[in-house]
Symmetry: C2
Subunit: 458 residues, 2 copies
């Protein structure tokens, strides 16, 4: 059985004999008895296993090292210590021993930087147990939200030749031998590659998602995406997961309704299903985390235009590093001020067109686009979305003006000619959500095996 | 509201006024009235919209072309035709018109080959509505199965330097300019690339999954994978999705229990949640599909060794194209015979070691490995798995013998030194499952935007 099932229904198993398989997280051996801090990874809680000389292999068990895997059979009893229950061992069988150079010893708390160096072992620590369990449950919450609201889950392609975000931001892929490239007229002949042309791995499924929204009305993607950005910050990785819903017959206000509803659902779901993990992070990672999340669920998100945000920033008493401007993006310091000003999440709408993407709907003022960013206290921008330009002539003009390679996306443009409609979508970086949910600050610590410039171990 | 919600509770909406947004799938206009075959993509069913001269814009509505998007308001009434219900339109508003060169007209049934050429429009056809809805629901079923059984969903990396399946089967990725490669000693200097070395996109998450199974006991992956195979068959694509569960403290028999239980759960779930879609595929794609799926759910899967399968094949009256052999893989014709012989799904275990992967557990006979393939009637191999070699010395020896680049996977080997345990896992190609669930034969028709050699449009 799993430890999780035991802790979910302790009364049921009290005084019953059970068998568990798992690992020694800590071990205190006395002369005639011992305590094993036992975990199996199915829940945040550990179980104390008590054994004594009555074990046939008592001497052997006493010598077991931290990290070893075991099969334990025993009786669940009320504990006299801090725990509710403990296990009185009747047999303990070693399954796999652990070398004494195991880097995760009980003494000392290893730094997160050190743990990144042993990414294949760090999931065994309490912190990463909590983080990756929250990650798994949050993923499930997202699927449950969209599926229960009649959305189609669509697997948009990763390999692509379409130019959405700009091909210079995409990894090229090839089956060719770098040291023996086929040439034609002194240029590498990509026609000889597997797809007969240069292909990339993509940073977004949006364009393909829109094609499916025009068939299924409401769709979402949830998959990995890639960016070549050579940037070493806490929030950038070259591989990350993204959720990209796209909704036909939905304008910008409708989109904000969905974003708010979805986020509250996911946060509530995690609070309910990961109470132990959230309590752990609240205690050891971000004090006040639980309260922050509960507050979000009950809050009303503010909706305000970029123009009005800039007004507020200009009137603020702060000395800004970056001067707020009606034409520019807002800086991290501005995001922080605005979420504190409104004391909660803020949707900022109608951004200057020149700093936003070509597929966003141009507003009647001809100066702004119907885009929306969601700014969340303590995490900055969590989602970015827009109503899409549904007018064929307008989107062609915008794409040309922004140097998009239109030939690669003519099919996408055609969606406007064959029963197109007003529609909207957003993207949410999944890691950014996990950072928000756990309080862990660095994207490298919320991805199982992070990829950043110069780092592709494991 | 969504059409799906209307059909889920028709009684509730009878004689009520509702508003729907969606598309014209067909249109018959008479002199004083008309019928619109209306769909919104949230369910397989269409709704008949009836309108007459009382509409203010009657003349305009009469001219609406197939494919156009609409907003329709009207009363739900009992139908006198084939449908249970229809909508008596009170207002019909055109949202997006459709050019008359729209390739999906009502007349004629376009071939699947033709529809592949318009992959961005084909999801609007009844066939692809059914296929992609089943795909979405099957994905949800997989998540529900594993999450409800305490598995952790882990996002293993796509970008990797680890050699699991052989680097010649992986796409290389780069940010370098093919026509201006940095050279050192007449060789391309990959240290200048973003990760300071050659990186790939992977065909499996298994190795990373095992690292997480050693921390969380039960994990699963569900994500895209890539293979460079230059193969144009019905079952090969260069990008596809895969599910890879990995379970600590689980032997080969335990693994088969899980595979059988999971598959039955997913098939039952799809039968329950996609009854209209299955009925459609049963009628137009594979006659007897529904019965086939129901039979699977109630069947007992056979378990038999590779050796005993070969015995049966040798005794069979058939004239084989490929002679059955105790040392070789079994051919498609053998798979077919065996599933018919046992009249149901068959687990074939204990395969000759030389035709299986290096990480599989060597049996005591020193000739076979603890591998298992699941053969399913009509679909061939649906899952492949094994108990993993848990012995450090043995796996190192096997890897060396099979020319694995051990330096890239030393961390993986170390899992055997730090509290390793017997453990097992399997991979299921998601498209192969969808082929089985829909009866659609070609992998190109169950992936939204398929990538095969020479084909990377859209």
């Amino acid at each position: 059985m799993d430890l999780k099932d035991l802790f979910l229904d302790k009364e049921k198993y009290l005084d019953k004999k059970i068998t568990l398989c798992g690992w020694i997280r800590n071990h205190r051996d006395q002369k005639t008895f011992g305590f094993i801090d036992f975990a199996d990874g199915t829940c945040q809680q550990h179980l104390q296993v008590v054994y004594d000389e009555k074990l046939a292999n008592f001497n052997e068990v006493q010598k077991l090292l931290i990290g070893s895997s075991l099969e334990v059979t025993g009786k669940v009893v009320k504990s006299q210590g801090q725990q509710d229950i403990e296990l009185q061992a009747e047999s303990i069988r070693l399954i796999g021993d652990c070398k004494d150079n195991y880097p995760l010893q009980a003494k000392g708390r290893p730094t997160r930087e050190f743990l990144r160096e042993i990414a294949y072992l760090r999931p065994r620590t309490n912190l990463f147990q909590a983080v990756f369990r929250i990650r798994s449950v949050a993923a499930m919450a997202i699927h449950e939200y969209f599926q229960s609201h009649n959305y189609l889950y669509v697997h948009t392609p990763l390999i692509t030749t379409a130019d959405c975000e700009g091909s210079d931001q995409m990894f090229k892929i090839t089956t060719l031998d770098f040291n023996n490239l086929p040439m034609e007229d002194n240029v590498v002949d990509m026609k000889k590659d597997l797809f007969n042309k240069q292909a990339f791995i993509t940073g977004t499924g949006q364009l393909h998602g829109e094609a499916f929204a025009m068939a299924f009305k409401k769709i979402y993607t949830f998959g990995p995406t890639f960016r070549t950005e050579n940037s070493n910050t806490k929030t950038h990785a070259n591989e990350f997961w993204m959720i990209e819903p796209e909704i036909a017959f939905c304008d910008l206000n409708g989109l904000m309704d969905i974003e708010e509803d979805m986020l509250k659902y996911v946060v509530s779901y995690v609070l309910e299903h990961c109470s132990e993990e959230i309590a752990f992070c609240d205690k050891f990672v971000e004090q006040g985390l639980k309260e922050k999340l509960e507050k979000l669920v009950s809050s009303q998100f503010t909706r305000i235009t970029h123009h009005d945000v800039v007004d507020i920033l200009k009137k603020a008493p702060n000395k800004w590093e970056f001067t707020p401007s009606y034409e520019d993006d807002i800086a991290k310091e501005h995001e922080k001020y605005i979420t504190e000003y409104f004391n909660g999440p803020v949707f900022i709408t109608n951004w200057p067109k020149d700093i936003k993407a070509w597929y966003m709907k141009l507003n009647d003022d001809n100066a702004t686009v119907a885009a929306v960013d969601l700014e969340v206290p303590g995490a900055g921008e969590l989602m970015g979305g827009s109503e899409r330009e549904a007018d064929y002539d307008k989107i062609i003009a915008r794409a040309k003006a922004m140097n998009v390679d239109i030939d690669t996306v003519d099919w996408y443009m055609n969606l406007r000619r064959f029963g197109g409609c007003y529609h909207s979508g957003f993207g949410m970086g999944f890691e950014r959500l996990i950072i928000y949910l756990t309080g862990v600050e660095n994207i490298r610590d919320v991805i199982p095996f992070p990829r950043t410039p110069g780092n592709c171990e494991y």
